[in-house]
């Protein structure tokens, strides 16, 4: 029982770290000349590395909002998990934790989908932060489903 709990907690922490790195790292598209990202567009020109704020299109702002919301909800579900761990009745299920975690996974999915569809087609490849977002989505979905199934025994 303790191992299951520890495993679930470690998984949750991994998901949180993945989400934070994906939101903050801002390497969603990489090309030869530079990277076009969630927050900054950076270019390596002849005289150095220039960064300017990303275009304020509506879709980039929506992706930013969804990623930030997913980080917030994952963090809230972690706190709810710790709270319910000590306050739940025997045999109860971690519903609040599961709801927040599943919502976080839905937001990551929406953000990644919007970015994939609306990205300007400049023959650039996808960077590691984009991959991390897609990895975090099934992990958080699985984690949420585990919380639905998990019951507090004693």
């Amino acid at each position: 029982m303790l191992f299951i709990l520890l495993g679930v907690l470690v998984l949750h922490l991994i998901i949180l770290i993945l989400l934070i790195v994906s939101t903050a790292a801002s390497t969603w598209s990489v090309g030869d000349t530079g990277s076009t990202d969630l927050w900054y567009n950076c270019k390596t020109a002849s005289d150095g590395y220039h960064c300017k704020p990303a275009s304020s299109d509506d879709w980039i702002q929506a992706v930013q909002a969804l990623m930030i919301l997913s980080v917030l909800f994952c963090f809230c579900s972690l706190i709810a998990f710790l709270y319910q761990l000590f306050r739940l009745v025997k045999g109860g299920r971690f519903f609040f934790t599961a709801i927040f975690q599943i919502l976080a996974s839905v937001f990551v999915m929406c953000g990644a989908i919007i970015y994939t569809v609306m990205r300007p087609d400049n023959h650039t490849e996808f960077g590691y932060a984009y991959v991390l977002a897609w990895v975090a989505f099934p992990l958080s979905l699985i984690s949420g489903l585990i919380y639905i199934v998990l019951r507090k025994k004693e």
Partner: protein, 228 residues
């Protein structure tokens, strides 16, 4: 002691007049406008001296991608002279008040060719040493959404919905608790009525239904507590 005083007074006299003769000019940094609209470019200055009668304002314009600056407005000797030959003829108007240190101009009916940098230079004799200030004009077909507006809106709406749902949930629990409480009270009243009626006739048929309703409410409450 006297020499120290003399030295400090000389230093102060030397420093203060130079400071008080610099004039600082304020304009905006960047202005956004739609095609066809009017825009007011504001220019004001700060000077240590009183406003003299010879105060002058002058605006110059440098189009985007060009190195030539042309003069488009000049105010001197109490008279405003607007552009009557250049790109802004019949479109420029002086809307400032020199007595209040305001040298703003109004440009009407903007076009894409008006993109550029406007520089305001003000002089308040004898305060003439100052750096002109520039404002950049950007003319759009459609005003772009500022960065962060949609982000903040989405986050705010989702968090607000979450708070609303939590509040409604706790409110429902509270109301249901109150309803059960009031049901108990009416049950007691009904029981008393029952007791008085049984001496007279049969018990009222609505009573078992109410008992069942109270029991199901209690069960719902307990299951909600379990969920938490």
């Amino acid at each position: 002691m006297l020499t120290v005083l003399a030295l400090t007074s000389v230093v102060l006299l030397g420093v203060v007049p130079e400071q008080s003769q610099a004039i600082t000019i304020y304009t905006g940094w960047e202005r956004h406008a739609l095609v066809g609209s009017d825009i007011r470019l504001s220019c004001s200055f700060f000077s240590w001296r009183w406003i003299s009668e010879d105060v002058t304002f002058s605006w110059t314009y440098r189009p985007d991608g060009s190195r030539d600056t042309i003069s488009i407005f000049h105010y001197t000797g109490g008279e405003a002279y607007v552009d009557n030959k250049g790109p802004f003829r019949d479109r420029l108007e002086f809307v400032g008040n020199p007595n209040r240190r305001d040298g703003s101009i109004l440009i009407k009916n903007l076009d894409f060719s008006d993109n550029g940098t406007f520089t305001c230079d003000a002089k308040n004799p004898p305060d003439i040493v100052g750096r002109p200030s520039s404002v950049r004009l950007l003319v759009f077909e459609k005003l772009p959404i500022q960065a962060g507006v949609i982000t903040g809106a989405i986050i705010g709406v989702v968090l607000g919905l979450l708070v609303l749902i939590v509040v409604i949930y706790y409110l429902m629990r509270f109301l249901v608790a109150r309803r059960v409480f009031s049901l108990n009270v009416s049950k007691h009243g009904k029981k008393k009525k029952e007791g008085s009626q049984q001496r007279q006739g049969p018990a009222p048929p609505a009573d078992p239904a109410k008992v069942k309703a109270a029991a199901s409410e209690k069960k719902k409450q307990e299951s909600r507590k379990d969920k938490k």
